[in-house]
C-alpha cells in the first residue's frame, strides 16, 4: 500500500441474509461471481482493504451476524471510489439480482463510517457501527450513501474504536 493520501478512509459493512445455503444451486450464480467481483474490487481505484477469512479468498465463511448472514467489510479512500465500485462496475449485476439470493432486510443492512487512514476495522467494530445506525439513525458516526457525512464532519468521531452507544 502506498502512503495514504487521505487522513481518513471510508469503511463499509454490509450484511446479507442468504435465502438458501451457499452450496445450494439456487445461489450458484452468486457464488460464481464472487471471485471476479472481488478481483475487480481489489483492482478498483481507491480500494484499500477488504475482510478475508484466514486461508480463504473471501469472507463468506465468517458469520459474525448470524448463521445465514454473510458480511462484507471493506475500506476505501473516498466515498466516490466505493460508490463507483458498488454501482458502476460488475458489482452492480450482483446488486441487481440480490433479491434472488438474499432476504429483504427491514433494518439497515449497510453502514458507512470514517476511520483514520491506515486503520483496518474489526468485525466487532463494524457490527457496532451498524447497531449505532439502526438505533440512532444516520450520524457522522454511522451513515449511508443517501445520508452521508464528510470526512470533516466525522473528524470528532475519528477514533479507531467507536464510542460506546
Amino acid at each position: 500500500m502506498t502512503a495514504p493520501r487521505h487522513a481518513a478512509h471510508l469503511a463499509q459493512l454490509n450484511v446479507a441474509t442468504l435465502r438458501y445455503p451457499l452450496d445450494d444451486p439456487r445461489v450458484a450464480p452468486f457464488v460464481d461471481m464472487l471471485d471476479p467481483v472481488n478481483a475487480a474490487a481489489d483492482g478498483a481505484p481507491g480500494f484499500v482493504w477488504r475482510l478475508v477469512e484466514d486461508g480463504a479468498a473471501d469472507a463468506t465463511g465468517l458469520r459474525p451476524a448470524g448463521e445465514d448472514v454473510i458480511v462484507n467489510l471493506s475500506v476505501w479512500e473516498t466515498q466516490e471510489a466505493l460508490w463507483d465500485f458498488a454501482y458502476r462496475s460488475g458489482h452492480l449485476e450482483v446488486m441487481r439480482r440480490r433479491r434472488e439470493w438474499f432476504a429483504r432486510h427491514v433494518e439497515a443492512h449497510m453502514v458507512l463510517w470514517w476511520v483514520p487512514a491506515g486503520h483496518l476495522p474489526t468485525v466487532g467494530e463494524a457490527m457496532e457501527r451498524l447497531a449505532d445506525l439502526r438505533a440512532n439513525g444516520p450520524s457522522p458516526r454511522a451513515f449511508t450513501f443517501a445520508s452521508s457525512y464528510s470526512e470533516a464532519e466525522a473528524a470528532p468521531h475519528l477514533q479507531a474504536a467507536p464510542p460506546t452507544v
Binding site: P36, A40, G43, A44, D84, A86, Y87, R88, S89, G90, L92, E93, M95, R96, R98, R99, R104, A146
Partner: protein, 249 residues
C-alpha cells in the same frame, strides 16, 4: 432557456457540442455548424451564459511556452439537468418516492416486468432489432446518446475512452458470430452516454438500473440477434448492447 435555443445556428452548435461527449473548441464547433468562427463564438458564449454549456480553456495543440498562443476556449454540455414543464409538474419527486417505496418493499421483479412490458409496447409490432445499427437508431430516439465502441476484453473495466475512430459505418450485420478464440475480430458494442433516469438511478442503482435493463430488453427484443446486458462504468448508462454470440447460453 427555451428562447436561447430558438436560434437555429445556436441550436446546431448546442446539439453538436452535446453530442460529442468531450471538450469542443470554437473552430471545430463553427465548422460543424457551418458558420464563421466569430459567430460561433458569440453563440457558444450565449449558451454558456444560459447555463446550457460549460466552458474552460485548454491548449488544443499540445504546445506550451512562448509561441504556443493563448489557450483556446473549449465547451462541453453542462452537467446540470434542465427540464421545462408548463404548467409546473414535479415527476422527479414522484419518481423518487415511488422508487424509495419499491426499494423498501423489494419490488424489483415487479418493476422489471412492468419495464419490459413498456419496452415491448414502445417497440410495437416491429420485430426484435436486427443489428447494432438499428439498435443505435432506437436508442438515439429514446435519448440514450448511443455510440459504437470496440468491445473491450471481458472484465477490463478500464476507461478506454476510444469511442471515436471505431466506426466506419459498415454494416454490423448478422452472422459471423466469431466463435471461440478469434481475438482478431474487432467486435463492436453499443454503449450509451446518457442515462435517461440519471437522478433516480443514482439514488437507487440496483432497482432503477435493473428497470432500465428490462426496459431496453423489451425495446430491442430478446429473441433477435442482439442482446442487452449490464456492464456498468462510471459516468455512463449501465447497459451495453451487443450481438448475441451464441443464441443458446
Amino acid at each position: 432557456m427555451i428562447a436561447v435555443l430558438q436560434d437555429p445556428v445556436r441550436r446546431r452548435l448546442y446539439e453538436y457540442v452535446a453530442a460529442q461527449g468531450r471538450e469542443v473548441g470554437r473552430n471545430e464547433a463553427a465548422e460543424a455548424a457551418g458558420v464563421a468562427r466569430t459567430l460561433a463564438a458569440h453563440h457558444l458564449e450565449k449558451l454558456t451564459e444560459a447555463g446550457l454549456l460549460d466552458s474552460g480553456s485548454r491548449r488544443l495543440t499540445g504546445r506550451s511556452g512562448p509561441g504556443a498562443g493563448r489557450p483556446a476556449k473549449v465547451y462541453t454540455r453542462a452537467r446540470a439537468e434542465r427540464s421545462v414543464s408548463l404548467p409546473a409538474r414535479d415527476y422527479r419527486t414522484a419518481a423518487e418516492l415511488l422508487a424509495e417505496a419499491a426499494e423498501e418493499a423489494g419490488l424489483d421483479a415487479g418493476l422489471r416486468a412492468a419495464a419490459r412490458r413498456r419496452g415491448e409496447a414502445l417497440r410495437g409490432p416491429a420485430p426484435a432489432c436486427g443489428g447494432l445499427e438499428e439498435v443505435m437508431e432506437v436508442l438515439a430516439g429514446r435519448g440514450y446518446e448511443p455510440r459504437l465502441e470496440a468491445a473491450a476484453d471481458a472484465g477490463s473495466a478500464g476507461d478506454a475512452d476510444g469511442g471515436e475512430g471505431v466506426g466506419e459505418g459498415e454494416g454490423v450485420g448478422e452472422g459471423d458470430g466469431a466463435e471461440g478464440g478469434a481475438a482478431g475480430e474487432a467486435e463492436r458494442v453499443v454503449r450509451m452516454r446518457n442515462c435517461p433516469f440519471h437522478a433516480v438511478a443514482e439514488s437507487f442503482p440496483p432497482l432503477v438500473c435493473g428497470m432500465n435493463l428490462a426496459l431496453l430488453e423489451g425495446l430491442i427484443g430478446t429473441d433477435g440477434p442482439v442482446r442487452a446486458r449490464m456492464d456498468a462504468r462510471p459516468g455512463e448508462c449501465c447497459v451495453v448492447v451487443e450481438l448475441s454470440k451464441n443464441n443458446e447460453d
